[in-house]
Symmetry: C2
Subunit: 366 residues, 2 copies
């Protein structure tokens, strides 16, 4: 924990490696490769797809070894899925949990192509005593003093849902190294830590999995005295494309007096988003935004809201989402030990009026 707004050199090392979605890229239904957020715990492993085999074993009657050719010859599914890091929003907390210092933009919505996991587990034949399925990546490192391959588990019920995919393509192209080449897990609706990249093996186990990333990390807890609740599905969040033009260093936005069409995206992994509200006064008053159809069942919805940007001076714009299960974003940040599930509303500072000394050519004001 650091009780300072400033970021330590260790956090910076993570911040320059990993990256979030530049907010203006919320404009795209499908996030282009290179704009989707990335969090890589250890190093990107170098994998030879030709010799690659996925090992399916543990408490199964017929262990499998599947090549990429085997996997590609199985029935294919393509799904647009919104992925968000469980630690999104962490850097806005005080004191700040020491980990990747995300602001609010660790999200993306890509089209993943792969094959359904459930039929593979059925083919392997789960033993009666199997309770969890462990997904192990090829990425190795040390975290919390534990030398580990990155691993997460799902219950049988969660692992066998029809939308759970073993994905080998993103936006119609083979996975690039940073997204898990040649194969990764996609678990629609869940925070990013679940979608294990560079999949090495899938192992059925007869007891709750105790690996570091499952049993120690990724828990929501108000203090260190308690074990807390495991992080699972995404809470609702709305983000806007910041209107106007930015200042390079402060990222403050400048808007000429006008009626501005604000747009953004909203998602939840708990239930469909049913409402997005917009505030131009820092959350004091709210108006309903217009909601478009979701890009897919597991993808974000576009929203728009007109804002009369007529009063000169600074304005704090906010957006908040509510889902069909009644979850609404809090206006204040919700502090917890690891800084996970922080879906406090986005705040964008916009100045209405003249920007600076020199105006660009009139025909450039697109």
């Amino acid at each position: 924990m650091i009780d300072s707004p400033d970021i330590t050199p260790e956090e910076l090392q993570l911040a320059v490696r990993n990256h979030s979605l530049p907010l203006e890229a919320l404009r795209y239904d499908i996030t282009p490769v290179g704009l989707h957020y990335l969090l890589i715990h250890f190093d990107i492993p170098f994998v030879d797809a030709k010799s690659y085999e996925l090992v399916v074993g543990g408490r199964v009657r017929r262990p499998l070894r599947l090549t990429m050719e085997d996997l590609r010859s199985r029935p294919t599914t393509t799904l647009a899925v919104t992925l968000e890091c469980a630690g999104n929003g962490r850097a806005r907390l005080s004191p700040r949990p020491m980990s990747q210092p995300w602001l609010t933009e660790a999200v993306g919505n890509a089209e993943w192509t792969g094959t359904s996991l459930a039929p593979i587990l059925e083919e392997a034949g789960l033993e009666e005593d199997a309770v969890d399925v462990v997904f192990t990546g090829l990425d190795r490192g040390v975290q919390g003093g534990v030398d580990q391959l990155y691993e997460r588990s799902l219950s049988l019920a969660d692992a066998t849902r029809p939308e759970v995919l073993l994905a080998y393509a993103i936006n119609g192209q083979p996975l690039p190294p940073q997204h898990g080449f040649p194969l990764r897990l996609i678990v629609p609706g869940w925070y990013g830590m679940t979608h294990v990249k560079w999949l090495r093996s899938i192992t059925a186990v007869d007891a709750g999995f105790g690996g570091y990333q499952q049993a120690t990390a990724y828990h929501y807890r108000a203090n260190t005295e308690i074990a807390g609740e495991p992080v699972t599905r995404m809470l609702p969040r709305a983000l806007m494309v910041p209107p106007g033009v930015p200042d390079f260093m402060t990222r403050t936005r400048f808007v000429e007096p006008s009626r501005v069409q604000v747009e953004g995206r909203a998602w939840s992994g708990r239930a469909p988003v049913v409402r997005v509200e917009f505030s131009a006064d820092g959350g004091a008053t709210w108006v309903d935004a217009a909601l478009e159809e979701a890009v897919s069942t597991f993808a974000w919805r576009r929203w728009t809201c007109a804002w009369d940007a007529t009063r000169a001076g600074p304005h704090e714009l906010c957006a908040r989402a509510t889902d069909a299960a009644g979850n609404t974003q809090p206006v204040a940040q919700d502090w917890n030990v690891e800084g996970v599930q922080n879906n406090g509303v986005q705040r964008v500072l916009v100045v209405v009026g003249a920007t600076a000394e020199r105006q660009p050519p009139a025909d450039s004001l697109a």
Copy 2:
């Protein structure tokens, strides 16, 4: 200037938007899209390629308006080019200039496809009094109190070199939004600020260009009393793939006692790289690394060096490059007002010996 190792919230906003090359990606001859470094001053503009036109004007006899179809029908060149941000290394300076807080990894080597600029300028017919060519992007914002479109210029001699391209593809695919869709400038050998993205216009002018990014920013100066020297071509730099496995938070590396083959890349925009040296003792002693052929005339060279990692405990690994013009990387950082051209040697902390409590399965130690 900030005289603190900690990063301010303003710097963090830039650090989460932009990103560097994860060092393990130095393994690839050609950097995959999404791993190449990115620095975007303002917002990524949203451009409709169908209505897009490049305007070539100013001091020319035959102004041109070129569609993407016009540009694609011209002769095609593909070049592998190493691009590095002029501010690479800035965050290691003390006091620290306030801008994008790069460590040492703001680099990439992509294959750019486009058409040569020189024949287009010839077609437009430069007037006798033309001295500079100004490249204007569609990206607008405020920097140094100036509302601007991002613009840089080149002298006629530099602009008409045969390797200068108007590029519309990267690694065989149309430019993604973040790399300048639909058209950008590529000036092999120069730091990244020169390679203007989202090109809107090319304008011949009859006097030295005084725009903010040309005349104010991107100067090497030891203090604020002097104007300094404009930043142009890249100084030499060598980077290594950090060996072993990382700790998530500290990024310290762990290596088992063994003979380690260290590998990396080296480049210079001034002259070919002719030597790379490796040090396993923080720069006290050096050995020559083996150099492979460059990927292309304007691209980095791979280098390798064996390291006997037998003594248990911490080691500081360094690499440094020298080019044919006699430029060598300094062992200490070279401070300047903007934090540009900082090619001080990379330092990687590696601990030889056991990593932690639990070892991963033996067959995972690839």
